[in-house]
Every structure is written in structure tokens, then in C-alpha cells.
């Protein structure tokens, strides 16, 4: 790993250079919000954005995708190579980079998902530092900083970026396409000042100690009805979540009645039929059952398998939920009580 200083006015050189050989995707304004989109003009990218409506998940686990073509008479299945043009995701916040590392554990684990893998391998990641909003709670999960999962990371020092070159490819690209200079002691001082400013800007984090234990201890607590009953089962929390990965698979038959396409789409454990088996038995018939399960899996189920919590505190669900169901509220309810 090595470090360089990149003047902000040189960022467009870097983007133009990257665009010569790959598609550049980054945050740009859409109305009063921000979205990840293809950046045709380097001036369109907004690197001091708050958060995007949808997380970068959509570039790896598509909201809807064709998995394979089948012929129902012969049973033959054809898979197209998952064609992904080389691309760079430019301007990804630490929480979102961490979310991709959590998805990697699922889709590049014992069973490798070839669709996810192809897209991951063809995508460079350039991270950028952020300042917390009122919704952010990465301070609860330690996901406001990144140690892995990017090629370059740009920490905002005002007029310049402190660039962390994580991979050789990232280092080569910055060398090739833009002017940088060596780090000086004053830059390290500015970096430290920036880290302090970042940490001080947070709304205090909820207590996360012993969450799995408290989840089981309060599994039948009335708090779940109170929080979960109003759930609209709209699934917006899962759609905007950078770490929700559940999907549904279905066949779409062609008009000839013989061939067709097997497709998969994002799903949500808050949808009413998510855990319903044939014969009509639903293992989570109530809204509150499903809301509880969603948090139980994120805070304990995933943790028990992979050793980390499946939430990066990005705050998107907090904004998306129309009935105020969010991780901060759940954690505060779980840790409430026990006062002497």
C-alpha cells in the first residue's frame, strides 16, 4: 500500500483516463437526491454527496437478471457467459465498500455465484470519504472505515485528496492518468484533523453489546409487535439495503410454450409469502414475525455464520421506511431496560 496526494482539479483527468478503457460509474445528482449512474461527463460526478438512493449492490446483484435459457422438452440449459465490460465504481463510501465485502462472503463462499463473481472481478472500486448524516450509524458497526475491498481510496483534505493505493492496478492507473505528488507531513496532519472531524460529526451510536444474546432473551418481547406490526410489507428496506441479498427465482416461458428464461429478482423477507411453503403453511404469518426475522438475521444469523453483523449503518432503510422501522430503533429497544 502506498499514498499520494491528488489535487481536486486533477480528479477529472483521472476519470477521463479511466473512461478510455472502462465504463465509469459514480454518484451524480438526481433531483435533490443522488444515484449511482454511468458518468458520461466527468463534471457530472458529485464526490461530496451524502448517500445514494440505491447502494452499489445493483451493479453486482442485479434487481432482475436472466440466469439461463432452457428448453423444457429436452431439459437442455444454456448459459451465456456473464458478459461484463470492464468498469470502475468511482466514489464509493466506506459503508458501501464494506457491504460488498459482506456480500462476497455469501456469493463467493462455499457455492460460488458465477453472475456475482463475473461482475465483481470486472469492477474496480475507487472509494471516497464522507461526512456522516443524521441517518448514519456506521459508528455502531465500525464500517465507517475501510481496510480492504478497494483499489484506490480518496480521503478529502479540502483542496486535495489523500489517496490510498490498495492494489497495484489502482496505483498504476493513478500514475498513468493524473498528476499526483508525494505525501508531506502537513498532509498527514490534515488527514488526522479530518478523521477527528468525521468522528465528532456522528449522532452517538446505539449500544451494540451482547446484541445476539439480547435478541434471544427478548425474542418474545412485546417490543416486536410494537415495532413490527405497522410494517407495510413493501420491501423498501431490503431494496435500498446494501447487504440484503435474498432473491427469488422464476421461469418466464416463451410464447412457443417450450423454451423460456429462468430469471431472478430481488426479494424481501418482509414480503408476506417469503417463508410460505407449498400447502400454504407460512412460517412467518405476522408482519412483526417478518420484521423480527429481518433484524435477527442481520444482527445474529449472519454473524453466527460469517462472524460479522450484516448491517453497515448506511441509514438508507431509515429514510426508506415509511413507518419508522430501522436498526437504531431496534437496537435501542433491545438494549433498553436493566437500569438500577
Amino acid at each position: 500500500m502506498f499514498f499520494r496526494i491528488l489535487q481536486k482539479e486533477s480528479v477529472s483527468d483521472l476519470i477521463k483516463g479511466l473512461a478510455q478503457t472502462r465504463e465509469v460509474i459514480g454518484p451524480r445528482a438526481k433531483g435533490s437526491e443522488f444515484v449511482f449512474d454511468v458518468i458520461e461527463n466527468p463534471d457530472d460526478i458529485v464526490l461530496d454527496y451524502t448517500t445514494t438512493l440505491l447502494p452499489p449492490k445493483k451493479y453486482f446483484l442485479k434487481s432482475k437478471e436472466e440466469m439461463m435459457r432452457y428448453n423444457s422438452k429436452t431439459g437442455q440449459v444454456s448459459e451465456d457467459e456473464v458478459a461484463v465490460e470492464p468498469r470502475v465504481l468511482f466514489g464509493v463510501h466506506p459503508c458501501d465498500i464494506n457491504s460488498l465485502l459482506l456480500l462476497d462472503k455469501v456469493f463467493l463462499g462455499d457455492y460460488v455465484d458465477p453472475y456475482y463473481k463475473a461482475r465483481r472481478e470486472n469492477t474496480l472500486i475507487v472509494g471516497v470519504s464522507c461526512m456522516p448524516t443524521q441517518m448514519c450509524m456506521c459508528n455502531a458497526f465500525g464500517t465507517g472505515e475501510v481496510h480492504d475491498g478497494f483499489d484506490l481510496f480518496l480521503t478529502d483534505l479540502g483542496d486535495s485528496y489523500y489517496v490510498t493505493c490498495q492494489t497495484a492496478e489502482g496505483a498504476n492507473l493513478i500514475d498513468k492518468y493524473c498528476e499526483t505528488r508525494a505525501v508531506e507531513p502537513a498532509d498527514v496532519d490534515a488527514l488526522q484533523a479530518r478523521i477527528k472531524k468525521f468522528n465528532e460529526a456522528f449522532v452517538p451510536a446505539p449500544d451494540t453489546s451482547e446484541i445476539p444474546l439480547l435478541f434471544d432473551a427478548k425474542y418474545d418481547d412485546p417490543m416486536w409487535e410494537e415495532i413490527g406490526d405497522p410494517c407495510l410489507a413493501c420491501g423498501a428496506c431490503s431494496m435500498v439495503c446494501p447487504t440484503c441479498y435474498c432473491f427469488n427465482v422464476r421461469d418466464v416461458q416463451d410464447a412457443d410454450g417450450v423454451s423460456g428464461t429462468r430469471v431472478r429478482e430481488w426479494d424481501s423477507c418482509c414480503f408476506s409469502d417469503f417463508a410460505e411453503v407449498v400447502g400454504g403453511h407460512n412460517f412467518r404469518p405476522k408482519r412483526s414475525d417478518r420484521v423480527k426475522y429481518r433484524f435477527y438475521h442481520k444482527q445474529w444469523g449472519y454473524l453466527s455464520r460469517y462472524g460479522e453483523v450484516l448491517c453497515v449503518g448506511c441509514g438508507r432503510c431509515n429514510t426508506a421506511c415509511k413507518v419508522n422501522i430501522n436498526p437504531r430503533r431496534v437496537l435501542e429497544a433491545l438494549t433498553k431496560g436493566g437500569e438500577e
Binding site: G109, V112, P114, P212, A275
Partner: protein, 287 residues
């Protein structure tokens, strides 16, 4: 755990979502609602790589309709084909029931954790099945049959709603006379063809003797049955770590990815579907 074909395909780098073409080679009507399908993978290499354990399941594709998880009913000792005992209930199982011998379906798998067959060797065995719960247990029963000398006393308790709904009735009628299997059958509602027991499967426990220090139990049936059968097994002092249950959930992908079969903090498709009773007691939503 034994290496099974999922691992073989994984090591070959084959897309784990890809179903393999398979042919229905025999269909036996078992009851009004259930049929037994014998299915043979068409590709020889794939067929030879396909090995499994009792208690595991496959994802069966009816192209144009979708996939459904179905437990394997035949014994791992029989190779070259699998048998699936399927009730006509959902869209995929409904479409399967309309298929003819010779028709093509798709198969992926096998998936999940089966019964601990090797650990069970050298012990007495107590198997309890209710209704369609016999489907996964049938594989274990036949596997034990094929390696009968490896086991002590084998007791099978079978329950069904009516005599007409007893699955594999012909085989079990014949087994009633065998000395190497203690088979007890009961129905909730008898009719004129039935001269056996009438009542719940739990009543059969009064008739059996169990050596608690040396017995493995396995239970499979409708969810309501587990708790009551478990209580009977505990009355006989069976070890909770030596009682196994198979949990039904919506296992869509079979690989711990799609999220549909979550049960408490685990996934039925990769952590189960067979769990020890101790494990199941420690899983929220399991019982």
C-alpha cells in the same frame, strides 16, 4: 461428511444454479395424492458423480414452472437413479404429477445435511414417521436395510390419517412379518380394510422397549407431530443429541444464498434439513 456430488460439481466450476436434464423412468401411484417418481440423470458423467446421503434433498425443475426442494426417498446404496415421493400440492409438484414416464425434468443437488448414518451404525434405531414424513425417512430405512448387519434392533413407528393414505403400504405390509424390523403402524381413522392399531403414532410408544444408552432416534412428519413424539422419546430417556428431525422450509436455492429457508439464525438448506433435537431446540422458529 461424505463428499457428495454438489462438491464434485463445485470443484468442476459448474454453475451451481444449473439444473441437469433427467428422465422420469418410472411412476408409481402410491395414494390419491402421492406418486413415487424414479428419475435418472441423462448425462452419464453427471449421473456417476451424483451421490447423496439419506435426508438430503434435490431441487427439481419443471421448466416453465419452477423449482421445488424434494427429499430423496431411495437409499444411497442404490445408484444410477433416485426416487422422489411427491404429494401434489403446489405448482411444481402439480406439474410433476402431470408428467409421463419418459418426460424430462431438471435436477440440481443433492443439498443439505442428511442423517448421521455412520454415527448411527452399531446402535439400535427408532424411526418415527407421520404422513408424508416417511418420504425422507424411507431413504434411511432402506439404507439401514441394505446394511442391516451394522445395526442393532431397528424399530419403525408409522402413522397415517387413514389406511388409504399409508405410503409404501405394500412394502411395509410385507415387513410386518420380518423379524429383523419391529414395525408398528397406526391410523387416525380406521376403515373396514384395517385390522391394525387406531390412534396417534405416540400411542405406539407404550408397545416398544428402548435401550436409552444405545439408541438413535429420527422423526419426520407434520410440524405438530415433532413436539409430541419428542416428549415420548424423552420419556424413554433418549439423548437429545441422538434424536434427529428433518425440518421443512422453503429451500429455493439449496445453497444458503437466496435466504428463503431461514430458520432462526441458520438456513435449513445448508445447516439442515436434518438437525439433532438439541440443535433444533436452540433454533428460534424451529419447533
Amino acid at each position: 461428511m461424505a463428499v457428495n456430488s454438489s462438491e464434485v460439481f463445485r470443484s468442476l466450476g459448474v454453475n451451481p444454479y444449473r439444473p441437469w436434464p433427467a428422465r422420469i423412468t418410472s411412476i408409481t401411484k402410491l395414494t390419491e395424492k402421492e406418486k413415487l417418481f424414479e428419475i435418472r440423470l441423462i448425462d452419464e458423467e453427471v449421473r456417476n458423480a451424483f451421490t447423496f446421503e439419506s435426508g438430503q434433498f434435490v431441487e427439481l425443475s419443471i421448466f416453465g414452472v419452477g423449482e421445488a426442494p424434494i427429499s430423496i426417498s431411495s437409499a444411497p446404496s442404490k445408484q444410477g437413479f433416485i426416487e422422489l415421493c411427491v404429494r401434489e400440492t403446489g405448482t411444481v409438484t402439480g406439474a410433476l404429477h402431470k408428467k409421463q414416464c419418459g418426460d424430462i425434468v431438471g435436477l440440481r443437488g443433492p443439498f443439505g445435511r442428511g442423517f448421521p448414518f455412520d454415527d448411527m451404525k452399531g446402535h439400535d434405531i427408532l424411526l418415527v414417521a407421520g404422513g408424508l414424513g416417511i418420504a425422507p425417512l424411507k431413504s434411511l430405512i432402506n439404507h439401514i436395510h441394505d446394511e442391516r448387519h451394522e445395526f442393532g434392533k431397528v424399530t419403525i413407528l408409522l402413522g397415517a390419517r387413514t389406511p388409504n393414505e399409508i405410503l409404501f403400504r405394500r412394502q411395509f405390509d410385507m415387513w410386518k412379518h420380518r423379524e429383523d424390523f419391529n414395525l408398528y403402524m397406526t391410523v387416525d381413522h380406521a376403515d373396514e380394510t384395517w385390522d391394525g392399531d387406531e390412534g396417534l403414532v405416540t400411542q405406539l410408544f407404550d408397545r416398544i422397549e428402548v435401550n436409552p444408552d444405545n439408541t438413535y432416534g429420527a422423526i419426520c412428519g407434520p410440524p405438530i407431530m415433532y413436539k409430541f413424539v419428542f416428549q415420548e422419546m424423552r420419556k424413554k430417556d433418549l439423548d437429545v443429541e441422538k434424536i434427529f428431525v428433518s425440518l421443512e422450509r422453503k429451500m429455493k436455492c439449496g445453497m444458503g444464498l437466496c435466504g428463503h429457508c431461514g430458520v432462526g439464525h441458520q438456513y435449513a438448506c445448508i445447516d439442515g434439513p436434518v438437525f439433532s433435537y438439541w440443535e433444533a431446540m436452540n433454533l428460534q422458529e424451529a419447533m
